[in-house]
């Protein structure tokens, strides 16, 4: 049922450029699709595995720079740029992730954060490779089978195909046995060890896959913007991904996807100044953490459980009825 709705929504979104001729709306659509992919990747790492990783920002930036440099400096195609973005990010994630995941979760958060800020500084200061603050402008539009995806409307198809493919991949991963193992690691790591499963390869794989997907998303986004410069690593992106995951509900795949589409479109529609928008994002983040710690998906789940409890109470208060037995067991 969920899958049918998702498929219908994906097809409807795919038709967006046919419904409107406004480049602006289609541009917002492109951002929403790519941000949703990046947020879903963060959800894999934070929501499912329980690792609060700020390195996603660095992977996003490395992905943007890698694909831009592949095309501009090394003369490759856009598609190879995405492949390299994913591969390099996965490799970087393994190198950074291995020593970091051996430590406690406190150190993990701080190391990934430092790594993200380091990436910003390197983008700015490694002038011979990244061209420093000037960035790499005029990225050429991608081509495939002799067709040139020059306009925003045409680029939208690429972003759409990319995000549908990535979300399908992440969904398959999250709902597989691997996904369940990741959740188990988040909830009770000693128990996972006791079952004879080593958590390290799973954590490392989740971190690397999240990095690769985020990197490829950054690559697509850099060609949407047409330029890569150090502002591509602005903390704004990390905050957006985090807010999407937290509002959507950590560990809820569809909650994050829906929140991603809604929250990427919302600030564009409201048209705040950049600073005011960030202030509002900050306030939302603080309030969401205190008021809705498990996001909208978590809130809906809690309400459903509460309704079932009420129904259970009604049933068991009726004399002679013993229907509550198995249900009560399920709710424990």
């Amino acid at each position: 049922m969920k899958l049918a709705i998702a498929l219908a929504a994906a097809l409807a979104l795919g038709a967006l450029p046919l419904l409107t001729s406004s480049n602006y709306i289609v541009g917002v659509g492109v951002s929403a699709l790519i941000f949703t992919v990046a947020a879903a990747a963060l959800n894999l790492v934070y929501g499912f595995t329980g690792l609060l990783s700020f390195a996603q920002l660095a992977f996003w930036g490395i992905g943007g720079y890698t694909s831009a440099l592949t095309v501009v400096t090394f003369g490759g195609t856009f598609w190879w740029g995405l492949v390299w973005a994913a591969l390099i990010n996965a490799a970087v994630a393994l190198v950074v992730g291995y020593p970091t995941l051996r430590t406690n979760r406190h150190a993990f958060v701080i190391v990934t954060l430092t790594f993200a800020l380091l990436a910003t500084l390197v983008a700015r200061d490694w002038v011979s490779l990244t061209r420093g603050p000037l960035g790499i402008p005029n990225l050429p539009p991608p081509t495939a089978f002799g067709h040139r995806f020059g306009t925003t409307g045409q680029f939208y198809w690429i972003a759409w195909a990319f995000s549908v493919a990535m979300l399908a991949f992440l969904y398959a991963l999250c709902s597989s046995r691997i996904g369940r193992t990741l959740v188990a690691i988040k909830q009770n790591e000693p128990l996972v060890r006791a079952q004879g499963i080593s958590p390290m390869p799973y954590k490392l794989a989740a971190f690397a896959i999240g990095a690769a997907v985020t990197g490829a998303a950054g690559g697509v986004f850099s060609f949407h913007l047409g330029i890569v410069d150090p502002t591509f690593l602005d903390f704004y992106y990390m905050q957006t991904f985090l807010i999407i995951v937290i509002i959507g509900g950590t560990g809820s795949f569809w909650g994050v996807v829906v929140a991603g589409m809604a929250l990427s479109a919302l600030p564009e529609v409201l048209r705040f100044s950049a600073d005011l928008r960030m202030i509002i994002y900050g306030v939302i983040l603080v309030i969401a953490v205190f008021v809705m710690p498990s996001g909208i998906a978590g809130w809906l789940r809690e309400r459903r459980v509460a309704e079932m409890r009420e129904a259970l109470a009604r049933v068991s208060s009726t004399p002679g009825a013993d229907m509550g037995g198995p249900l009560r067991g399920a709710l424990k």
Partner: protein, 295 residues
Amino acid sequence: MTIDAVYLVQLTLNGIALGLLYALIAVGLSLIFGVMEIINFAHGEFLMLGAYAMTFALPVLGLLYWPALAVAIVAIMLFGFMVYEVLLIRLKPEEFERSILVTLGLSIIVIHLMQYLLTATPRMVDTQFGFEGVEIGSIRITWTRIIGAASALAAFAGLYLVLRYTQFGRAMRAIAQNREAALMVGIRPRVVARNAVVLAAGLCGLAGAAIAPIQLVTPYMGQYLIFKAFALVIIGGLGNIPGAIVAALGLGLVESWIGGFFEIVWQEAAVFVIMIAVLFVRPDGLFKRGGMRVG
């Protein structure tokens, strides 16, 4: 490459000054982590606000250095008090990820509010000392730098005395070393946590106020420093105050030397490379963590 002795001494002195600044920030982070087991992401913003407080207080007080410094420190301590009472008091010790997200939100709000109100234009501020300094041979150091370094050292000495000999400090160490036992002897964790946050904010306010006459003041100045401070607390061992000070001084020297001889990108990358190397060898940081100790 011949190494000029004077140049090397100059780099070393700059490195010590930089290291002391890092230490002021890192010690505050360590103190808060030791007592509350949370990380204050907005710590860099405390420093930034301290620097702004200095730029506002100095012209009002007729460029007098010491009163302005005192005003800035008190202002940031008050700010720290408010942050604790409004936000941090709602966090429990095991909610590490939430503490990061909440203080991250605070940091975003503060940075962009300052930028919204005061624009991103860098500010400069003059003091009664101007650009006067001491000259030893061909090495020249301005008074503002010397005073900054001296007040940092004085602050560490004061912190040591407070933590070691006062009831106020003993309570902090007790909570950090054994929370349950501290509760049993009647120490109130919230009061101690509030004291720790205010004290850490004061150190950060001092760092910000001391740095304001030396470099440009912008809303983003805290962000560039805070991530190095994060790395330092990891290198020194989470919650370990002497470890953080040693790591900070070491990093200041290393960065200054690297900056003198290599490209700037290596200077920025040094802290991260060192941190990853340390984590490979000693996952708990260079100095083993065993509660908060001062001696």
